[in-house]
């Protein structure tokens, strides 16, 4: 009897592994399939080509007389905007697999797979590649044929897999599931961050590249890469781990403001070659461009299903950053779907995507007051014209629009649209 009782007592231990779920789930998600190519062939592609149609617009930059519109994964369109009412597409910079670029003083800094590129655009009719830092962001990943991973082609697929499978594990860590050429899963952690999420390209100026004091800073998903910039070349001087889900970077004073999905990180660049993390302001998970102006920083927190923005916040947060070591929240303004933002003539413009654009009076920067929300336009990002303070540009799924703003009535007069 005692033996039997001992056996019964041991049963929970013996059968502990008998409690499990044999669950198969079938769901629809974004799949990225690895694309391999001869990277030297890609690097050898001629930089300048004839103008072409804008199909999948990405980054946008406004220069004195030109507009640059990124073509996701292919390059950059160059438009002559000397006549704002009639911008003319004059050329295309072929930068295969590029999705991030930044312009400073007629210099284009572009992230291109593994490489970082500097292009002189002082003559917009004759752009010139000044330098290329090869493998600046990652070591080459090659397949058995010696070809190099150059990117991912994305598609929406419906698949079934076990809840304890490799796919299910990856779904926990990434918005996308990455597959190799032989259809095996690639852990998102081993995918170079410069490759990740090219389908999530933001239309507008929300930047992952910033320039400060002859240095260029690039945020990837988890790192801050620092390049030293001289008139003719650039050189990688360091890469620093700064956390996860980094989205945007903005240089203001001798600080870098890095927006992540869950925080705003402030980095001191008094020594530009060695950025030092100064402080972190945590906020709920969301997508969050940050705009620091003087002692105030504006932070839009956006949440939306199926856009890669998790959480449940849609707000404009106003932060006091006079003590850069300890940013403090001044106020939180409810929004509908805030995206990019800019400040022009003490007016804060916040693009709300399909819900229009909100304009705040920021004469008192710490207390922006909503003037109006224009729901007749679609504005994911709002961009200041570098030469005409009353002119703004907005981006949407349909194109880049230019408006003249009446500074008294805030009436917006449509000038032109570059459709894409």
């Amino acid at each position: 009897m005692k033996k039997l009782l001992i056996i019964i007592a041991c049963l929970p231990i013996l059968f502990a592994s008998c409690t499990k779920d044999n669950a198969t789930i079938s769901l629809t998600f974004k799949k990225g399939t690895a694309v391999y190519a001869d990277i030297e062939e890609i690097r050898a592609v001629e930089l300048v080509s004839a103008p072409r149609m804008i199909e999948n617009a990405g980054k946008i930059f406004i220069g004195e007389n030109y507009i640059l519109i990124g073509e996701n994964g292919k390059g950059i369109h160059v438009l002559d905007n000397t006549d704002s009412s009639n911008p003319v597409n004059i050329g295309f910079l072929q930068l295969p697999f590029t999705k991030e670029f930044f312009v400073d003083k007629d210099m284009i800094y572009a992230e291109s797979q593994y490489d970082f590129i500097k292009i002189d655009l002082s003559d917009m009719n004759n752009p010139l590649m000044l330098d290329r830092v090869e493998y600046a962001f990652a070591e080459a990943i090659q397949n058995a044929d010696g070809l190099t991973l150059v990117g991912f082609s994305y598609e929406t697929v419906t698949r079934s897999f076990k809840t304890d499978s490799e796919e299910a594990e990856e779904l926990r860590d990434s918005y996308y599931l990455y597959y190799d050429y032989n259809n095996s899963v690639i852990p998102a952690s081993s995918v170079p961050s410069s490759f990740v999420g090219s389908e999530r390209g933001v239309k507008g100026t929300v930047n992952k590249i910033a320039v400060y004091s002859n240095h260029v800073y690039v945020v990837s998903n988890s790192k801050l890469h620092t390049f030293q910039d001289s008139p003719s070349n650039i050189m990688l001087v360091g890469s620093t781990n700064i956390g996860w889900d980094n989205e945007t970077i903005y240089a203001e004073g001798n600080h870098l403001f890095i927006g992540t999905q869950s925080s705003m990180i402030v980095m001191d660049v008094t020594n530009p070659s060695s950025p030092i993390e100064t402080s972190t302001y945590n906020h709920p998970n969301s997508c969050d461009p940050v705009l620091p102006i003087g002692s105030i920083a504006y932070l839009t927190l956006r949440t939306a299903d199926f856009t890669g923005c998790s959480g449940d916040e849609n707000t404009l947060e106003v932060l006091d950053i006079s003590d850069i070591n300890s940013p403090e929240l001044i106020s939180t303004i409810p929004m509908t779907s805030p995206y990019g933002l800019t400040m022009i003539n003490n007016k804060l413009y916040v693009g709300e995507g399909m819900n229009g654009m909100s304009i705040f009076d920021a004469a008192d920067p710490a207390n922006p007051v909503l003037i109006q929300t224009n729901t007749s336009i679609v504005a994911y990002d709002v961009i200041e014209h570098p030469s005409f303070p009353n002119r703004i540009l907005t981006t949407s799924d349909f194109g880049l629009s230019q408006y003249e703003v009446n500074s008294l009535t805030m009436e917006m007069i449509f000038l032109s649209e570059i459709a894409y």
Binding site: M1, I8, A23, I25, R172, Y175, N285
Partner: protein, 264 residues
Amino acid sequence: MSKILITPITPFLFLIGLLFCAPVISFSQNDHLMENGAVFKFKRHWYKHNMVYGSLLQNDFNIQNIETVSGDTVSFPIDSARKYYLPEQITLCKNGRYHYASGKIRTFSMGVSRDHVNLDFVYGFRINRHFDIGIGTGMDHNAFSFYTVDDFHLVNIVGTPLYIQGKYNLYRKRRIIYLKAKVGMTNNSETANIVRVNNGIVMEGGIGMLFPSRLRSRFYFEFSQYTSHAKGIANVASSSILSDVEFDVWFHRFLFTVGVEFGK
């Protein structure tokens, strides 16, 4: 998190189960059974207590003679007994606790495991000292989970099973150790986040121990392996999932069950 039904109370129920077990485990130490054991419960306070038990010496329509544990022989008229159990109906221990040897049996039980709880009622029949059969129903709750990049998703399935059950008594002394098996179908229910779910098979097999009692009720506990199936569609909110989630899941659970058996 996708909350389809909030029932993460398994640990709480497990503790309640342990509390149930405590008095059961502390039951008497007398392990001896009585030959020809019988129990008589009287209408009035009659012989020390309102109950007398022992080996039945004589059984006719009028007078019953019982030899008690202390060796006394007690005689009484049968019509003074409110209720009685004769040797063919019970197995009697020397402390007066007994098991039903045959007849109708009803059981209420609760089983717990990780991401599982079930409440059951079985209406059964003890065919002889070795076999029970019965038909049961109740409520089963199972859950499976998975993660997406922005959330933890717990998919809860609630079902009403209908099954047949059989027990075989391996060891029948003061305590009864038995093997149990059941098989049936569970009527899975659609909830707010379960868009559609099919009915599924439910099976269970295990071993248990039943404790004797002087009352109509007696406690038991079991360890068993439970399996059930559910297939359907769940509505799961996530940034990375672009559709409802179809699921096809077999729940395998090692259950700890406590219950109460009632006889006539």
